[in-house]
Symmetry: C2
Subunit: 762 residues, 2 copies
């Protein structure tokens, strides 16, 4: 780093919005702890930190990523056993739990362009001499999308951009129908499984997904092996199951697929398989297809970085896609390591990261897993030195996350009742990298995780990871057009003591815990400075990671510090460190958002209809291009949000009352019995945000505040019942869901009130 | 056109915001005409329209673009004589006025990459069999930038994006200095002459300008000859003289370079030559240079569409650029055709378009010129049939526009005093194409030109060209982020009877008339639907134009209808059709803009300084990348805009009073003497907006409201004295200029008051 300014201040504990506080400032009070117990906790954390050694993280990564280790692979099993051995060695009560899950692998993959010229797609990533493990071809899974159905289709190609619903609206304006066609979508803009789902809804017969270099390739930076970015042969494997319906084994939704439960493969029961065959390809393979495509020129925002004029088709490019899979049940090996709590053994703090990869997976998932291992080793060492946590700590290394959160989901389903009774929180990590703290999760833990983030120094700057993230948010995306919005954002970033955390959609193993079981969850990691162009490819290797990502494993250690503090504080707190005002504040934003969504949709529908009615749309179009005006929009009625607004008010009042009661109680600790009673209420508060009936259309998803979008996949939809009903223009359902969600929120408020009563009485 | 809707209504006269008015609606009153005279005028225009024949436009284009016809070329002279013959044949008093101007052409052009590999740039556009005139290599000017100095430089390359001042700020953040380097800039983002000017200010020794396919090539659409867009050999010739200082012959600023005035070539007197050698190249020639470039990856918005990772450099790419020119005086032949006015021969309405091209120039400038010819022929026919205009009409075909508005500027300078006395208005066109009306100019003519636009039907839709433009503006750029702004814009578009017209910066022949002489000017044309990738290349040909632009010449005829009505109404009105409330309204926006500019700069400086002071900028940066924080910004003082605001108020009052007086006078026409007196005042009103001293640093530019930006070139700066002082952070000058501009505006208001007095008294 070349800097024309003074050297950085060394600041470890930065409180609130203060930009620089000297190290002698008294440490912040810890939520859930008395001052004395907080001091002990901080001493414990010093011991924890001292046990972290980046060299170990590196060696574990070397070991775990040495060979391909997807679910069902020999090395995957070997890794599970290696991990179990480590946990055992560190003093954990460890077992490997096995499930039997559907995991198809390719028997036949063929893609060729049959017109206007003939081209056979390579569908292969060649070994590179700079990357030793890339040559392990015998053990590598080929490039494919798991849970694509078998198929043999031939059709004209249509380019559909990211392949999300609004892209098909745009195609409609061009008079293009994908019925009977094969669509070519680029990665990005949604979770990949959305693309074939939406394509099939529109009548397509096949789906290709390629990595455009605009989003994932040379446009971003130098390509591998010169730089970290995706080269023209790199392709992204990945699941395309309809996970917004339910994740986990497609054959056993809601049920843990233990060896006893598992039976034959009846694909008709697998509701999450795609409806059409799907195949991922590299941009090298996509180039000839796009180059030959005719029809209208694609809208500007659809164009990628390949050196062609992007056309929409259909044709003259015709492709023949042939896919056949081996539909097998394979064993999933979850490694579960327990350290029983001394005082509250039936309260579990669960910390997980998956261990399976698509190929060697040094970054995904090993970079996160080695931080978890470091945490577990240090916790084990503290235990060996005589300390035992108040609550039980569970470390989990999940198998089969890649195809569909298989290991975590089956485990959560298998232990459903027990987890709902005992789990305090679930803390997830996955890939990790150099840069900025990334944290999302239950807002009942927002204040708690901010305290953690303020106590962990950033390796590169020595301010706390919270302060560095604050700096990033203050500087990021400075855009004149949105100046007023940015002014408000900056004001809040400077004045609000806590940084806001994101809500969880899906994409990693927190989903079954948070959204199926209602266990408060957090997702933690670092990133934003490491170039990444090897996601789900054979080049996600030890060689790549240690050249381009976090070569010194200092962000691995930083993640271990964040994860370790999170687990230790959750395990050690006198009272589980939940808090409700941040949730109530965030909920207020969500209620405001859905109500504004209805208003915006109403105004937009009126405006769109007006532009249609007075022929403005047609007059503004080029008559030499095909332009099909949209259908007139149904008017958006006024939806009754009052139940939601009243429920919000109730939650806000309850949150403030809880806060007041807790503050009033400071210096007068609760009795141990009252603490225990309070814990039980707090632990299950998040469950009050769920309904056994789940969300409309997808009962597996029970959380009423956070869900992955039915048409986004990764992307969260908050207050999903109301929000998705609005988005789908189902006004009746929106109004019904407002009532349903309001009732849920009121039950949640009642739960908070119970906690408040315990404090006041205990 | 495939449309899923009812056939278009036939609407010729559309009044105000009404979307569809039946043809029997009484015609709109015409500004400057009594109702009876307006009816006669409209009958005259019917006769005018009937004389327009698209086949003639096509044949004139074929003739005029048949061979290369740049200034000084044999065919350029031939064209001038041909044009003069046409005008004479149509009954105009026609002469060719000759000037002697500096026009360098290349003797030596060499560009090679000397490291890290060797590559010699082709610097040539090959003939194409699909384009017959592209093979006329003996007469073509090669690819070059006129008024680049001679030079022989070798240096490391730095990529500077568009090469505008803020791009160098960004390079500063990366610690990159262009001193002693050759810069590679892409076309776009400013007028091309700004790029070498700014590069030289920063110490660069040479400048290459290439056409990136993102802005001008395959990213936009299929390339020539398959489609209309620029192919990998196409390059953009063009002037790089410092025209924001003064346009016209570099040797004779302010003086008409008649053969008597012209003497030897003393380049030390040519203040507008570049300081460093400059060369335009194709993207085919740029690709190897960019591909070899190292250093940091360019910011995302800097990256083009070439299939490389865009790096900033400097080096390892080193280039050797060698340029030598033949610095000659050449003759410029302006064709000037007059039809003397019957009642007011000393009031001139001037209509111009240039005739010189860079090569064959079918689009630029012949597509505009053939519309002007059609107008002149039709006017001549009306005259032959017995009609004579009230005022004198002057048609002008300018030479030497391409190198630097040479013909128009020298003519305007040579006839300075006469023009300031006699000119009513100047109406310019240049390239023309299929699509939407494009009109900019003096806001004293905004209402007038809107009336014209409402009376001309759009060829493709049969609503008026005004209504079609309104539709375009209503639909264009619908962006959620700016929704509130768009709401206001749409409201205005629907409710304000007149469409706003843009202000004129520079880029065509109106500049000497408007900005040097203070003659109210308009620029008219059509475009927006034709793909254009042949600008200033050998492929700007009859073959290209008639395939991709306006094959039926229906927009050529539409331009003739607009231009013809504009000229005829200006020539025939009882009183020159100026109006001041639209100007006052627009001026209010400009005053508001400059005052908000100061506020925004103040807030941004404070915010930037805060982010610097509290180390946020450094904390948000990646320590593994070079990041040099900016210098602290000088605080922005409060600038006294009160003089401007008071002057604005005065102009607004005067404008309203003029309007009231005129309305009160309806039905009681002024005496012929009063009309004449009023005309003289109105004609010179725009001159009241000029100062003989001109703008700071550039006295040639006398207009105090409209000027091309000193650092934009084409782009207008309104209230340039104040605005550019603010932009250059010269607070003292900003305050002085506010007083200067206020005084000018008050003189303008006084001029309006004089006109009002004539109406009230006459």
């Amino acid at each position: 780093m070349r800097l024309a300014c003074s050297p950085p201040l060394v600041v470890f504990f930065v409180l609130g919005a203060a930009a620089a506080v000297a190290a002698e400032t008294p440490p912040e009070k810890l939520i859930g702890f008395t001052p004395e117990r907080a001091a002990a906790e901080r001493r414990l954390e010093q011991g924890f930190d001292a046990a972290l050694d980046p060299a170990e993280l590196k060696e574990w990564m070397r070991r775990l990523s040495a060979r391909p280790h997807h679910i069902g692979s020999p090395y995957g099993k070997d890794n599970a056993e290696f991990l179990a051995g480590l946990f055992r060695g560190w003093g954990f009560d460890t077992r490997i739990e096995e499930f039997r899950v559907l995991f198809p692998t390719p028997k036949m993959r063929g893609l060729e362009m049959v017109a206007p010229t003939v081209f056979r797609a390579a569908l292969a990533e060649p070994p590179l001499k700079e990357d030793p493990t890339s040559g392990q071809t015998a053990e590598q899974l080929p490039v494919y999308n798991a849970y694509s159905i078998d198929g043999d289709v031939t059709g004209e190609l249509v380019y559909v951009n990211y392949g999300v619903p609004r892209d098909y609206d745009e195609l409609d304006r061009h008079g293009i129908d994908v019925k009977g066609k094969v669509v070519l979508a680029r990665y990005g803009g949604s979770w990949r499984g959305i693309k074939p789902k939406v394509a099939a809804e529109h009548g397509a017969i096949g789906c290709l997904i390629y990595s455009d270099p605009r989003d994932d390739g040379f446009f971003q930076g130098d390509v591998y092996p010169k730089g970290p970015y995706r080269n023209d042969t790199g392709a992204q494997r990945g699941s395309v199951a309809d996970m917004p319906l339910y994740p986990g084994d497609p054959l056993t939704p809601g049920v843990g697929a233990t060896p006893e439960v598992a039976h034959g493969v009846d694909l008709s029961r697998a509701k999450t398989l795609t409806k059409i065959p799907v195949m991922p390809i590299s941009y090298g393979d996509a180039l000839p297809l796009l180059n030959a495509l005719g029809g209208a020129v694609a809208p500007e925002s659809w164009r990628g970085a390949l050196p062609v004029t992007y056309h929409l088709g259909p044709g003259p490019t015709r492709v023949h896609l042939k896919l056949a899979f081996d539909w097998r049940l394979v064993p999933a090996y979850d490694v579960i390591a327990r350290l029983a709590g001394s005082e509250r053994p039936d309260e579990w703090v669960i910390r997980g990261n998956h261990h399976d990869a698509w190929v060697n997976g040094a970054e995904d998932p090993i970079s996160g897993l080695v931080a978890l291992l470091a945490e577990a080793k240090a916790v084990g060492a503290l235990h060996k030195a005589g300390w035992t946590p108040k609550r039980t700590i569970v470390y989990a290394a999940w198998d089969g996350e890649e195809p569909g959160l298989l290991g975590s989901t089956e485990w959560a389903e298998a232990h459903d009742a027990e987890l709902r009774k005992k789990a305090v929180a679930y803390v997830n990590s996955d890939s990790n990298g150099r840069g900025f703290l990334q944290v999302s999760g239950s807002h009942t833990l927002e204040r708690f995780i901010n305290q953690v983030a303020r106590d962990v120094p950033d390796p590169e700057t020595a301010v706390s990871v919270a302060e560095r993230l604050r700096a990033r948010r203050l500087v990021r995306g400075d855009d004149d057009d949105a100046r007023e919005v940015r002014k408000e954002e900056r004001k809040e970033l400077r004045e609000r003591p806590d940084l806001r955390i994101g809500a969880l959609g899906s994409g990693s193993d927190y989903t079954p815990f948070l959204q199926h079981l209602g266990i408060a969850s957090l997702s933690i990691g670092f990133g934003g400075e490491n170039g990444n162009g090897i996601y789900h490819s054979i080049y996600d290797s030890f060689a790549h990671y240690t050249r381009f990502n976090d070569p010194k494993f200092e962000y691995g250690v930083a993640l271990a510090r964040v994860g370790g503090r999170t687990v230790l504080r959750l395990a050690e707190a006198d009272v589980a460190p939940f808090e409700f005002t941040a949730f109530a504040d965030t909920l207020g934003r969500y209620v405001e958002e859905v109500s504004r969504l209805a208003t915006d949709m109403r105004e937009k529908s009126e405006e769109d209809n007006r532009l249609l009615r007075d022929r403005t749309l047609v007059l503004a179009a080029d008559p030499q291009q095909t332009y099909v005006p949209p259908e007139a929009r149904q008017a958006v009625p006024y939806v009754n949000f009052a139940p939601l607004q009243n429920a919000l008010e109730r939650v806000q009042q309850s949150a403030r009352a809880f806060d007041r009661a807790r503050t009033a109680r400071e210096g007068r600790p609760l009795s141990p019995e009252a603490q225990k009673a309070l814990d039980v209420i707090l632990m299950s508060a998040e469950q009050a945000l769920t309904r056994p009936e789940g969300l409309p259309v997808r009962p597996w998803f029970r959380h009423q505040v956070y869900a992955p979008g039915f048409y986004t996949g990764y992307g969260v939809k908050t207050l999903p019942g109301v929000r998705e009903a609005l988005e789908q223009r189902d006004w009746k359902r929106a109004e019904e869901q407002a009532v349903v969600e309001a009732r849920t929120l009121e039950a949640f408020a009642a739960q908070i009130d119970k906690a408040t009563a315990v404090i006041e009485e205990g």
